[in-house]
């Protein structure tokens, strides 16, 4: 009797194309097809991810400020553009530093940058039709347009600096709709956020924690040398879970030398 009920549920889910949530319908554990993955181009992380983030799914790079999420995203985009793919970045609050993207190796001519409005300098409560809500709404619409156009290897949306209260206003079915749009396509959609949002059944969540590293003992010689990133991969039903440690160094794109003498 129980089996009949289970079969009925599974059948109903398949009818609604929701069978990816079934344990039996999940793809095999060994992900051997490299064309179905987008490597991050970071060896320890790719080893942990068993090849990279899956195409046709919504994955997440989440972490607090200075956890290395933007660096890893740019690294992933650089690898994609070096393979001849085109990438898109929906920049909700207009945070992309073009020099950093170029320094990461992103082929800028193959990057579609959709710039939202920088509202960080404006004070004001969050509420209906607030600048933040409008920015999120536009960014989600832009994401939908880019995904529907197709042909992009990586499409990322940046919600990292959006206040949590605004994030909570986004309906959860937003991410289901995104998942439905890219299902079966060659696009890997990446969500950059401060905490897990999408909880996709097929995508991966990479949780990042970073610690800045400094060199130099004296005030005059001290400088930021990089960020040690600890990544934790969380996947549906713990199939690809694991940890990785990644080091990111600082490479100045300006002509910084030693600091000037401080006035006391």
């Amino acid at each position: 009797m129980a089996n009949h009920a289970l079969a009925a549920v599974e059948s109903a889910l398949r009818d609604r194309k929701l069978d990816r949530t079934l344990t039996t319908a999940l793809a095999p554990l060994e992900r051997v097809d490299p064309s179905a993955l987008v490597p991050m181009d970071v060896a320890p992380l790719d080893a942990c991810l068993r090849g990279g983030l899956p195409r046709g799914h919504l994955s997440e790079l989440v972490g607090a400020r200075s956890s290395g999420r933007m660096t890893l995203l740019l690294q992933m985009m650089a690898a994609a553009t070096s393979r001849g793919e085109i990438v898109a970045f929906v920049d909700t609050l207009d945070r992309l530093d073009v020099a950093s993207a170029a320094a990461a190796g992103v082929d800028l001519s193959r990057l579609l940058w959709v710039r939202g409005q920088d509202i960080s300098g404006r004070a004001g409560p969050f509420g209906p039709a607030s600048p933040t809500e409008r920015a999120i709404d536009r960014a989600l619409k832009a994401l939908n347009l880019v995904l529907q156009a197709g042909g992009f290897g990586v499409v990322a949306i940046d919600l990292a600096d959006v206040p949590p209260v605004a994030i909570r206003q986004i309906p959860f079915n937003t991410w289901m709709r995104v998942q439905r749009v890219i299902e079966g396509s060659d696009t890997a959609c990446v969500l950059l956020a401060s905490e897990p949002l999408a909880r996709s059944a097929g995508g991966l969540t990479v949780t990042l924690a970073g610690r800045a590293t400094w060199v130099g003992t004296s005030d005059r010689s001290r400088r930021l040398s990089g960020i040690d990133v600890r990544a934790r991969v969380v996947s549906p039903r713990k199939r690809i879970d694991g940890d990785a440690k990644v080091g990111i160094v600082v490479t100045e794109v300006t002509d910084r030398d030693l600091p000037i003498a401080r006035a006391r």
């Binding site: 490299p34 993955l37 181009d41 970071v42 790719d46 400020r65 200075s66 933007m70 660096t71 890893l72 690294q75 393979r83 001849g84 085109i86 945070r95 992309l96 530093d97 073009v98 020099a99 950093s100 993207a101 170029a102 320094a103 990461a104 800028l108 001519s109 193959r110 990057l111 579609l112 940058w113 959709v114 710039r115 939202g116 960080s120 300098g121 004070a123 969050f126 536009r138 832009a142 347009l145 880019v146 156009a149 042909g151 990292a160 600096d161 206040p163 060659d186 800045a212 005030d219 001290r222 400088r223 930021l224 990644v246 160094v249 600082v250 490479t251 910084r256 600091p259 000037i260 401080r262």
Partner: protein, 459 residues
């Protein structure tokens, strides 16, 4: 009989001085679609092959040509020969009607003066190559004592080539009445335009979409027949005239990144543009025109991952620009400047490369810390201890600040201070600080105002 029908026959008509070239062309086009307008507006060359079945023999055709032109008020000379060159040389020499039997061109041209060849020189549409486009060799021929075309034609070709090169031989062939190149008909400029007068004025874009679709579909078929695509799409909307006012025309022109002829794509692009730039009143006439350009040829690859088609990209960019703003979508580009965060936006037009899709990880890649830049630096309050930041307070939601754990700096930069506008110049001391919450910020102090700002987050 069969020979007479299929015989190659060219005619040249030469009008009296002051005649209208358009009337002359119209007269010629009544007889043959293969018409070549040479540089002299009084002269036209036309292909008369196969017309004997319609009109009769060559003389009858010539008489009909003269009668047609006379009806339009133009007096013309007509020469018909087996080659264009013979017909052109003869029509310039002899008035009335001249018929040269095929195969006898050289003999018929022999008594004509050599100076006639000079009249063909410089004609861009003639069969003369550019190297002999001028009549410099005419002086040489004259010094040799040559006076007629027949005398030049009779010279041994090998000796002529030895002395004057291939240019001399080409002039000799023309003197014999031979054509060097086939006739290339002049194609009249074709207009790709559709117009529709509306019985009832329309005020909204939704009904306009149907009108545009109706106009663009035949335009697409027209472009496809001619192997063309649209380089520029012009939409002219004629607005209803109010009493006592002149009629306004709302005109929009869309530069397309690549030749496009798909009616649905063009309609979408036009509508998205009109959404951003709506007409100011009801519309009672719609005109759609395109500037044609050779159509795009696409070679697909089995190896590389295909890019979105230009139609898809154009539509995507138009939709994104309508949503986000015209200048907020595209590809970023670095600019050669020291200004912090300087960049410019360019059109997103990725080119298909031959890079083969590789799944290998780049082994020796050093990751560099990225900066998340606040496009408008966020004001902050910084407490200094011994000249170093010790506490940062940021009055913005989600940015609490905190005590400074480690810091480095300052790095002083300045530039553009000679500009008149204050927003162009900068003069600041930069600091990298890690706060107690673990976040690493880039701060700067504006030296002129002593104010502190958060420039970005190292992430």
């Amino acid at each position: 009989m069969c020979d007479a029908v299929t015989r190659v026959m060219f005619g040249a008509i030469y009008a009296a001085e002051g005649s209208s070239s358009e009337v002359l062309l119209a007269s010629a086009q009544e007889f043959s679609p293969r018409v070549d307008r040479v540089s002299d507006p009084r002269e036209i060359v036309l292909d008369l092959s196969g017309l004997t079945r319609l009109f009769g023999d060559a003389r009858t055709i010539a008489e009909e040509l003269r009668r047609t032109a006379a009806d339009r008020g133009v007096q013309i000379r007509v020469a018909i020969a087996g080659t264009r060159t013979a017909a052109r040389l003869m029509v310039r020499h002899r008035a009335g009607i001249t018929i040269i039997e095929p195969g006898t061109e050289a003999a018929a041209l022999a008594p004509l003066p050599l100076a006639l060849l000079g009249e063909l020189a410089g004609d861009v549409n003639s069969q003369l190559p550019k190297s002999v486009g001028n009549w410099e060799l005419g002086v040489v021929f004259k010094s040799w004592g040559l006076r007629t075309l027949g005398e030049l034609a009779a010279l041994p070709s090998d000796d002529l080539a030895a002395r004057l090169g291939q240019d001399g031989v080409r002039w000799q062939r023309l003197a014999r009445g031979e054509d060097a190149t086939p006739l290339v008909p002049s194609v009249p400029e074709e207009r790709f335009e559709q117009a529709l007068d509306l019985e009832w004025p329309i005020e909204e874009l939704e009904p306009l979409a149907f009108v545009l679709g109706r106009l663009l579909e035949p335009l697409e078929a027209h472009l496809e027949r001619r192997g063309r695509g649209a380089a520029v799409l012009h939409v002219r909307l004629f607005l209803v005239k109010s009493a006592g006012e002149t009629r306004d025309v709302h005109e929009r022109s869309l530069q397309l990144p690549t030749p496009i002829r798909d009616a649905r794509t063009l309609r979408t692009l036009a509508l998205l543009d009109l959404e951003s730039h709506p007409p100011t009143g009801p519309i009672d006439r719609v005109v759609v025109a395109v500037d044609p350009t050779p159509a795009r040829i696409v070679q697909f690859s089995l190896i590389t991952r295909p890019l979105p088609s230009p139609e898809q990209l154009s539509t995507l960019m138009a939709r994104l620009q309508a949503l986000m703003g015209e200048t907020r979508c595209g590809s970023p580009a670095l600019v050669d400047a020291w200004t912090p965060g300087a960049f410019e936006m360019t059109t997103f037009t990725p080119v298909d490369t031959n890079a083969i899709h590789s799944h290998e990880t780049r082994s020796s890649v050093d990751m560099t810390v990225a900066l998340r830049r606040f496009r408008h630096p966020v004001p902050a309050r910084v407490r200094l201890t011994d000249g170093k930041p010790s506490r940062v307070t940021i009055d913005r939601r989600g940015m609490d600040g905190g005590g400074v754990r480690v810091c480095a700096g300052p790095w002083r930069t300045s530039g553009q201070w000679w500009r008149k506008s204050e927003s162009d110049g900068w003069d600041r001391d930069e600091w990298d600080v890690t706060l107690t919450d673990g976040a690493t910020y880039r701060l700067f102090r504006a030296r002129d105002t002593e104010q502190w700002f958060v420039d970005g987050v190292l992430d």
